[in-house]
Symmetry: C2
Amino acid sequence: MNFQSALIFISAMNLKELAHNLGLSQTTVSRALNGYPEVSEATRRKVHEAAEAHNYRPSVRAKSLATGRSMTIAHVVPVSSQHEMVNPIFSDFIAGAGEEYSRAGYDLLLSVVPDSEQDKMYRDLVTRQAVDGLIVQAPTLTDNRIPLLHELNIPFVVHGRSSGVLSDYNWLDVNNRRAFERATSLLLDLGHRRIALLNGLATLDFAHRRSDGYKRALLERGVAVDPDLIAHEEMTENYGYEVARKMLATSNPPTAFLVSSIIPAIGVRRAVKDAGFEFGRDVSIVIHDDDLSYFRNIGDVPLFTAVRSSVRDAGKRAAAMLIEIIRQRQEGQKDHPPMQTLMEAELTIGQSTGPLPVPTSTTHT
Amino acid sequence: MNFQSALIFISAMNLKELAHNLGLSQTTVSRALNGYPEVSEATRRKVHEAAEAHNYRPSVRAKSLATGRSMTIAHVVPVSSQHEMVNPIFSDFIAGAGEEYSRAGYDLLLSVVPDSEQDKMYRDLVTRQAVDGLIVQAPTLTDNRIPLLHELNIPFVVHGRSSGVLSDYNWLDVNNRRAFERATSLLLDLGHRRIALLNGLATLDFAHRRSDGYKRALLERGVAVDPDLIAHEEMTENYGYEVARKMLATSNPPTAFLVSSIIPAIGVRRAVKDAGFEFGRDVSIVIHDDDLSYFRNIGDVPLFTAVRSSVRDAGKRAAAMLIEIIRQRQEGQKDHPPMQTLMEAELTIGQSTGPLPVPTSTTHT
DNA sequence: TCAGTCAGTCAAAGCGCTTTGGAAGTTTGG
DNA sequence: CCAAACTTCCAAAGCGCTTTGACTGACTGA
């Protein structure tokens, strides 16, 4: 094994040598390996065996130059300038997408950039011809990456939507509005009226849609929206803790929290307990659960009542969608309508919700 | 802007055209752009301006074929077959590494594969000539990727070490043994004798080193190691919860927990509270804190007492190390000794530790 | 003044593949 | 039996860069 591998490296077999060894032309060898029909089965077999024996694999460098395809898809993940943080859902999203990519023979190019430099990076990746397609994550309310990529004329899929962008584009999203409307209604049904919303960054489109669902549900029941009960921030545990702590310390504290991710929800739970309240009794929590692999909200009765939608599954589907779009483009089919998928979140009841505690809906200091 | 961009795409400027436009040869234009000295300043300026105006960027495909360098570094992240999970520290590690890569003009190729297919993927990436270097993550006790990459003769850096591999290689690691020895000593100093260890997967090298530190500290004080108090698993919140719950329900429960990551520690904390114990009083917890960006263990008095080492910083350093190694290799310097960095974790006292509660040091059944 | 040096430029080869446009050899059909 | 049609293979061009080796004209020094 050692010996063989060493040989393999030293010879660094390329197509020319392989063809020479076989007494065949490069054309024939290339065709045999790529499954073209104009090669006899006997020859193809011989070629495959030789390739195997020499551990030959075509150079992606040469291949992509010759074919004009890089067989690479990029994800550009922004590092927040605020907290130097990477959104923790990315690892699961990428795990899902990566599965599809490797199945289809694509490589994943991951570009980690400060959020201010995103546009430049997208433009770069395309003009350098580094990728065949892109995934756009965490779109803002009117995201300029979408028109940019349209201009650059490269296949792309948006994970989420951008309300301010009117042109058509390919996207895959969760029905955030409905999910949060349902979650809010659930809390209202339980008698809660002081319901806090701990949302993601206000610039992000999904946060807006979630607010929307929340507000709709409140207004439908005639409950006024209290801006003091709405927070927008990056979804860290500390954020959940601090915001909940402050809100619970007010004279008219919320009796329920709607939290955009399980991570800040952990912080909220901590704040609730620290304040001497009983979780799921005095104070209820409903979360949006991305079904993160390292933080599963499961069990007979899961810890949190949640609207759930697997971000890993989203990654997988978005990737499949993009691969299909690239395929269509390569077949020269230009007139396909955009692909758009809306997924519904599923509501699960956990330990974190209960009816509004007896005394009354508001406690006076 | 729209108009200009559209033009840019349509023309899809390449070196040939650019040179022709300028009335110069490709050679000169290429040299001007790549900063070679044998080009007059006047010419260089003109070339840069024209390149800027036409939004020209050399094709990475052609460039890498011509230079033999792909300017790409790969991270192969395994998806656990057990829980289909991606280690949550990867996003921060990659954020750190990505910063260095973009500074140095490298792209990051991320390969997400089932852990069983890792070897194949490493071999593939190298023989396809897709990358100039690799980072190896989460090494096992005797990790065969290390000899493999040696054979393939490609620059690589290991994040962690592999005790069973005797050859020299480049690595960057935290002093896990000492960190856990100190953490254990701290608990012993507080009077604890029943100290549980919730470790990572037993196959991983770092888990072994951590066990080692833990056991040394115990033995030094003459405290016997109780195998019932040691658990090895993937570091999910649920794991922390379940294990702690079971241990606390025994007749001779631990009074302290040493937990390998903040994520299962959240679960431990939950179990402690559920069992009616007071966190940081009845039951102490010390964690290893990777300083995850979305889960900062901070504040005047952080939630957890911890041995801390930023995984983001590790990513950054590992990347810088790899880039330097690649540089040396390209300069034709073959005889460099391996680069090896051992980082010390820092101990922080938080709310999660306190002296052993009054009754006595060991409770008898 | 003239060989020697140097700054600035270029034509062409080459990186390792794919793919086009034949060209043999082999069957088939009338 | 011969033209037509396959089948199977090949030589060479091309992908868009970098880099080698050479060439020109201007400048230097003795």
